[in-house]
Symmetry: C2
Subunit: 414 residues, 2 copies
């Protein structure tokens, strides 16, 4: 049996029987229309989408290839591997095989009738080496940075996207409920984290979390117990944990979890590329009162953020409000990290990546908009002792908010 | 307690008690000397190392920051977050805090006495946006591509590195042994893959696998059963599997594993950043004879590659030899993928990343050298039916090879 024959005959049915959801044509068309509006404003005649998550967003496939989007005319998918699957996954009609990147200009010219005067690229992630290559391949075309156009378009989620995030949130709920059964005294953080992730995968979590960055690596197994919760690391978060080695000094470690310690589980799930991020506290026996008190302040700050969550509220103002609340409660030097190392955000946009717009943070003076999704995560850190926190992923609705991570907001004591 | 106080007093002891190994000064010095030799040849006066794995390789830390390496004079570590941990993790003496990237030129000037005439950057991965930023920050300095220097240095592993890879291989052995107990009929691929990964993590696997690429995402849970083993995907590998959605259409899926199917488990482990990659076949009850026969041809090809593995053998010649063996055995149209989609490599260098030098592949006419490590992975694919294969990570020794993945080379039938 030839591969192409088999794929055409059976792969689509198999994928759908196993729950694959393809991005509908209307959804893709809406996204392309939005992007084109911004291309017109910036006078960009053509866009070459290279990065996997943007390719998925604008075409529905993540097969290895590129999307050429002219300001006027039909989009063109150029696929290196695997063409037959890209045709199933994407509702875009024009899909052509691509052997090497050197063929891109001729395929674009054939499709578009000419080479564009200028070409938008994702310069926030595109490697310099590739950029020099495009300069040679398109010697008469001006290369422009189109990163912000894609970033802006992706900040407002559609109902199709929100449904996928809700499903990621449902997986998270199962993980935390199962976590109560899994957690045992003397288990290491990484053993617990690994088993939680196994549960998540069983229910459809894709394993990867994604961040738009050269060096920042996202991961699911952020389980910190007692003193490891007080350790800061490379990542811009209130606490990083110890990790397993200097090569990956974040997240769960080989430390054994003890009774009465605060166990912070900051666990992300990913369904069809869309992520949900949440944090709950666990403990074996009752946590020390000090941590319970601090947790309740996190809960209070969390609720105060949600109280302000509706279209029009200024993102920076929300962050500054939480600073005042933390100070008033006596946690000024523990809120969002130890002094000097405190982070300056209380929420981060989330969707296909963990660092999308908006940022509920210092220096981000813009309003919340309907359809934005972000994770709100107040955390309080005691160096050498532990940390506590609460996190949910929320959607900004017409009049307020909806929580996409339905796990009960309480301490999971076993 | 202040964070700095606690870190200085206790973090190093805690890390070491939990098995952290730091890169020794002598090891770092040897690596820097090698790099400097190549910088001299290319007339590069200074190197600014940005990418996390190169930073780890040359400094011992992966905290958020940069390494400035002058051709002559001492190296300088500039750390954004977290400084105290970088000081523990790296044997480099000159470690300074960095608030923003804008301070890099002044800190370099202060340390080096002047700005270098030219500066090597990792243009294979550095985003264009950052490059433009460096052009502004170093207006009188010529920016040069130093990717190949780092890539070349990393291709020969030291005994320190090989020991870490051996430990990754030992974790893999435990995973496959436990896998025999975990595998059950009716379990989905992803459930099995998730549980295998949980075992690996419990024994020190860091969860992440790394590839040097913008879009290629490495992952551990490559479990393909029956017909999903015959599916090709975005990755340059003989089979990709179905995955869980169009957002990540590779690896284990929600398909249930049935009796008598070939179950291919291509599982990577990572210890202190160093990876081991291996593949074994599982089956529930006996596999169909067709697959057993094909497996034995994979084993034959695998052994033939090892027979040729010693310093001096040409990498391309090894690959071409395996093509002839596959053809002779009657698997020409199934070897390394279905026709048209067949990959053109039988081995890939491995270490901190899964796509290091050497490539045992078409178009790679250079000799094996002592200290190289690569994964050899003959695979045979039957579209619509399944695939089989065998993979080990091996070290090129003075006179031959050493297998770093000690799992027994047999079909794991349960």
């Amino acid at each position: 049996m030839s591969y192409e024959y088999w794929v055409r005959k059976e792969l689509e049915a198999l994928s759908q029987s196993l729950g694959f959801q393809y991005t509908p044509l209307k959804e893709i068309e809406r996204r392309l229309t939005k992007i084109r509006g911004d291309m017109e404003k910036k006078e960009i005649e053509g866009l070459l989408v290279v990065h996997k998550m943007n390719l998925y967003y604008l075409s529905g496939t993540t097969q290895d290839g590129f999307l050429f989007l002219p300001l006027e005319g039909k989009p063109l998918l150029l696929i290196k591997r695997e063409l037959e699957r890209a045709k199933i996954e994407s509702p875009i009609n024009n899909v052509v095989p691509l052997k090497t990147i050197r063929e891109v200009p001729s395929l674009v010219q054939k499709h578009f009738g000419k080479l564009p005067q200028n070409l938008g690229l994702e310069m926030d992630v595109l490697p310099v080496k590739d950029y020099f290559n495009y300069q040679k391949l398109f010697p008469t075309t001006q290369l422009m940075d189109a990163s912000s156009i894609l970033r802006e378009a992706r900040k407002i989620k559609s109902s199709f996207e929100i449904d996928l995030m809700r499903k990621a949130g449902e997986i998270g709920e199962t993980v935390y409920q199962e976590g109560k059964k899994i957690l045992k005294k003397g288990m290491t953080e990484i053993e617990f984290g690994g088993l939680l992730e196994a549960v998540a995968k069983k229910y459809g979590h894709e394993g990867l979390l994604r961040v738009r960055s050269l060096n920042y690596e996202a991961y699911t197994w952020h389980v910190l117990s007692g003193l490891t919760g007080g350790i800061v690391s490379q990542s811009d978060s209130p606490m990083g944990g110890l990790g397993l080695s200097p090569a990956f000094p974040v997240g769960a470690s080989l430390k054994k979890m003890k009774a009465h310690e605060p166990i912070l589980v900051d666990f992300g799930t990913c369904f069809h590329g869309y992520q949900a991020d949440e944090t709950r506290m666990f403990s074996i026996g009752k946590m020390k009162q000090k941590f319970i008190d601090a947790y309740h302040v996190c809960k209070e700050i969390h609720d105060a953020v949600l109280e302000e969550t509706r279209p029009g509220t200024d993102c920076e103002a929300i962050f500054l409000m939480t600073l005042r609340l933390a100070e008033k409660s006596g946690y000024k030097d523990h809120y969002l990290g130890p002094p000097v190392l405190q982070t300056r955000f209380i929420g981060h946009g989330i969707g296909l990546e963990l660092n999308e717009l908006p940022f509920i943070a210092q220096g981000q003076p813009y309003p919340l908009e309907e359809g934005m999704t972000f994770a709100v995560e107040p955390k309080i850190v005691f160096p050498g002792e532990g940390s506590v926190g609460l996190e949910n992923t929320v959607l900004v609705t017409k009049n307020g908010y909806e929580i996409l991570t339905p796990v009960e907001q309480k301490i999971f004591q076993v």
